[in-house]
């Protein structure tokens, strides 16, 4: 199941904060370790006033669930009720101007909360981009907690969903090239693949292209 959450975040960094709150809310409601296994991403919304929305993929790997949609305490009514509850919680999170949509195979029309057409289209766009991995940047994803400290590229690929590492500016690299993750790794989704952009840094290592807390110098006047 994929949930799209649009809280009118400006850019990726702002949307990170929303993504973490979605994860906390979803994890608490769903129980177990589901919160740890949620995949969260941010997505640019370019129709209307440009902003950034969040997607949340709930794992579909509960083996004892006949419907396979990962909802604990199943029973159709329980699952649906829990889903409604989650969507309501997330809608409270983003407020009346925001929107939340949830889709799953057995919910052909999805669950929809919100009235603002810009936010609704943003939430739907986030769901679509996450489902196809066509665009966006991953915030939480399988293996993210293993991407800490300095790692060779080969280990980085082994430990996470990252499909490839791309060096901005075209410097050569191989599996042994060291990446100082700085404990902040935001791979990008495009064309169905997960790419991590890196750039040269002090000391001959690579660092992720996106840094935590970038300068906002003079950007918001």
């Amino acid at each position: 199941m994929i949930i799209g959450v649009d809280g009118w975040s400006h850019d990726g960094e702002d949307a990170d904060h929303l993504a973490h709150r979605v994860r906390e809310g979803g994890g608490a409601l769903l129980g177990g370790d589901v919160g740890e296994r949620l995949e969260l991403a941010t997505h640019e919304v370019r129709s209307g006033r440009a902003h950034t929305a969040v997607s949340c993929c709930v794992p579909d790997d509960e083996p004892d669930r006949p419907d396979g949609h990962g909802w604990p305490d199943a029973g159709r009514q329980g699952r649906a009720g829990r889903l409604e509850g989650l969507v309501d919680v997330l809608h409270d999170l983003v407020g009346p101007d925001g929107a939340v949509v949830a889709t799953a195979p057995r919910l052909p029309d999805g669950l929809v909360r919100g009235h603002d057409t810009g936010a609704l289209s943003g939430a739907w766009a986030a769901v679509t981009a996450a489902a196809t991995r066509s665009s966006g940047r991953l915030v939480r994803y399988p293996g993210v907690d293993q991407l800490r400290g300095v790692l060779p590229v080969a280990d980085l690929l082994d430990r996470s969903v990252v499909d490839e590492v791309v060096v901005v500016g075209g410097s050569a690299h191989d599996g042994g090239t060291l990446v100082d993750t700085r404990d902040f790794v935001r791979p990008q989704l495009s064309d169905g693949r997960v790419r991590l952009l890196v750039q040269p840094a002090v000391g001959g290592v690579m660092v992720p292209f996106e840094k935590e807390n970038p300068e906002r110098c003079c950007e918001d006047h």
Binding site: H10, D11, G12, E13, T42, E44, V45, R46, R49, A50, H51, T52, R137, V168, G169, G170, R186, L197, Q199, P200, A201, V202, V207, F209, E210, K211, P214, E215, C217, C218, E219, H221
Partner: protein, 572 residues
């Protein structure tokens, strides 16, 4: 590709260039049509038709018709200070059009402080450009003016313009400034109130906001037409920093009023920001990763970093800037400080400040310790925009910027650059930077770059060395690209490089341009040669371009470049 390393010819170069044009085989209609001192209204229908053809052919602004003097008698009677003589470069004046003061919410210094540093560091002109915004539009734009007028009095010989840093609707920032006069504040204030993206909430990308930007440029032009001000200019600042200045927006500004919208920063300010033992950020504070949803999505990740200190749009051989020049239309580059807080300065914000209430911070006080993490240089300390004028003056500097008689450098890499296109071995036919050389088809031309090498230390106390000069050439298609969002020039590339190591004094680099049959442009750049890599478009186009600046490890003093603006050549 051709990539020979020729040897420059060294010689003393003391003479000034003459500008009496030779007679040439051009028909009278063309001669009159090309004479920009004759207004449209005084042309015959045939002459006007010819002029419009020439305009359509990209023969722009400061047309220099090599060898037309005899056929344009009006020109012969005018001296070098007359309009016909505006191409005559008697002097190069260095300046900076992007400087903040205590009237910006993220800056600190007084106008006098910036101005006297600018003068001390060798600048002849500067533009005060505090951020547009609600407080500035309400208070700052007014109260900065007496400070600017006082600085003009205190520093005679230094030209100090009032401008502002415009939040361009739907886009980045830009310098807007006007010629001094009775209405300088009134025009800037009304412009800011009506067209600033921050004041009006029009900063996000949308067609309606893009139209606001175009309307703003046109409004400035109208103030000149209405004689409220004598001159107004707009140049876009740090254009690639956030990826939100799309190619079609830049083209739209340019076409909105080419008298006003004349270029962008080839190199952004904040050049100290990459110092490894300083701010250790990105050079130019270019550290974005393209997460602004207003961005132009086709810009690659490489566009969000500087290359050899220059913005990717300019640093890329065959890139966005070249794609604009390949249309044969003027679009010029500059290099500025963007001074807010300067590296190793010893100032602290004035105590008791209330920016929103007072429209500025109180005058700074002594901080007691150098600021080691500030990312900026003082005006003139590192970056300069050098403009050719026939005599110093406010209008002359603005006209020089408008005409593209401009080269820029970092760290005072060179002392002087004079690039001209001329008939072979005929210095009297020199046509300067920014000009369009219109000659009969088949005329033989050559390019000459006279470079006065640096003989004084720069402001980091060492003598910079010019080790290589590259010549970049591209063809012109006046029809322009089908896609207004293109950022690639079809066939622009580095056509020649000169090894200039070991030279001193004045050198002249000469490149034959052949017999002109198709329109093209040429531009040059030079470097200390410390850092290079194949350009974004590959080694066949730019084998030794500027290198991607490393975030946190970009010492600007160890990577110096100069860039010239282009000269256009078009057969008649």
């Amino acid at each position: 590709m051709s990539h020979d390393h020729g040897h420059p010819h060294s010689h003393d170069h003391g003479h000034t260039h003459g500008h009496t044009h030779d007679a040439a085989p051009v028909d009278d209609t063309t001669a009159v049509a090309i004479d920009t001192t004759v207004p449209d209204t005084e042309l015959s229908p045939t002459q006007l038709s010819r002029r419009n053809l020439l305009r359509a052919a990209g023969v722009v602004g400061s047309v220099a018709a090599v060898g037309l003097g005899h056929a344009a008698p009006a020109a012969a009677a005018t001296g070098p200070t007359q309009p016909r003589g505006r191409n005559v470069v008697n002097q190069w004046v260095a300046g900076d059009h992007h400087i903040h003061t205590q009237h910006s919410s993220d800056a600190i210094y007084t106008v006098a402080d910036q101005a006297q540093y600018a003068k001390s560091y060798g600048l002849d002109w500067l533009v005060i450009t505090d951020h547009g915004g609600a407080t500035h539009a309400r208070i700052g734009v007014d109260i900065v003016n007496p400070d600017i007028r006082a600085a003009r009095e205190a520093l005679p010989g230094t030209l100090i313009f009032q401008g502002l840093e415009w939040n361009i609707p739907s886009a980045e920032h830009g310098t807007v400034f006007v010629a001094p006069g009775d209405n300088e504040v009134a025009v800037l204030k009304q412009f800011e109130q009506d067209y600033d993206g921050g004041v009006n909430g029009t900063s996000s990308s949308s067609p309606a906001n893009e139209a606001q930007a175009v309307a703003g440029v046109q409004w400035l032009g109208k103030q000149v037409d209405d004689k409220r001000i004598e001159s107004a200019l707009f140049l876009a600042n740090h254009p690639a920093r956030q990826g939100i200045d799309s190619p079609h927006e830049i083209r739209a500004w340019r076409d909105a009023d080419p008298r006003v919208a004349v270029g962008f920063e080839g190199a952004p300010g904040h050049q100290a920001a990459g110092l490894p033992n300083g701010a250790a950020s990105g050079r130019g504070f270019y550290t974005n990763a393209g997460t602004n949803p207003n961005r132009f999505t086709a810009y690659p990740p490489e566009s969000y970093r500087t290359w050899g200190g220059f913005d990717w749009m300019t640093a890329t051989g065959g890139g966005l800037w070249d794609s604009l020049l390949a249309e044969g239309k003027p679009w010029w580059i500059s290099a500025n400080s963007d001074s807010h807080f300067n590296y190793l300065a010893t100032a602290a914000r004035g105590p008791g400040s209330n920016f929103n209430a007072e429209g500025r911070y109180r005058d700074p006080v002594y901080s007691g310790a150098p600021d080691e993490t500030a990312g900026d240089f003082w005006p003139g300390q590192y970056s300069r925009t050098v403009v050719g004028v026939n005599r110093p003056g406010y209008l002359e500097v603005m006209q020089g910027l408008r005409d593209g008689r401009v080269w820029v450098d970092h760290g005072r890499l060179v002392k002087g650059v004079n690039m001209v296109v001329r008939r072979p071995r005929n210095p009297r036919s020199d046509s300067p930077l920014g000009s369009t050389v219109a000659v009969p088809r088949g005329t033989a031309l050559e390019l000459s770059i006279t470079i006065t090498l640096q003989d004084l230390p720069n402001w980091a106390s060492f003598l910079p060395v010019l080790n290589r000069v590259d010549l970049i050439q591209g063809s012109i298609d006046v029809a322009g690209p089908a896609d207004r969002d293109t950022f690639l020039a079809p066939d622009t590339r580095v056509v020649r490089s000169w090894d200039t190591s070991g030279t001193s004094g004045t050198i002249e680099l000469v490149q034959p341009l052949g017999n002109v049959t198709e329109p093209f442009y040429v531009r040059a750049r030079g470097t200390d040669g410390n850092r290079s890599q194949p350009g974004y478009r590959g080694a066949t186009i730019d084998p030794e371009g500027p290198a991607l600046d490393v975030v946190g490890d970009a010492d600007p003093w160890e990577d110096l470049w100069f860039y010239t603006n282009p000269i256009f050549v078009t057969p008649l």
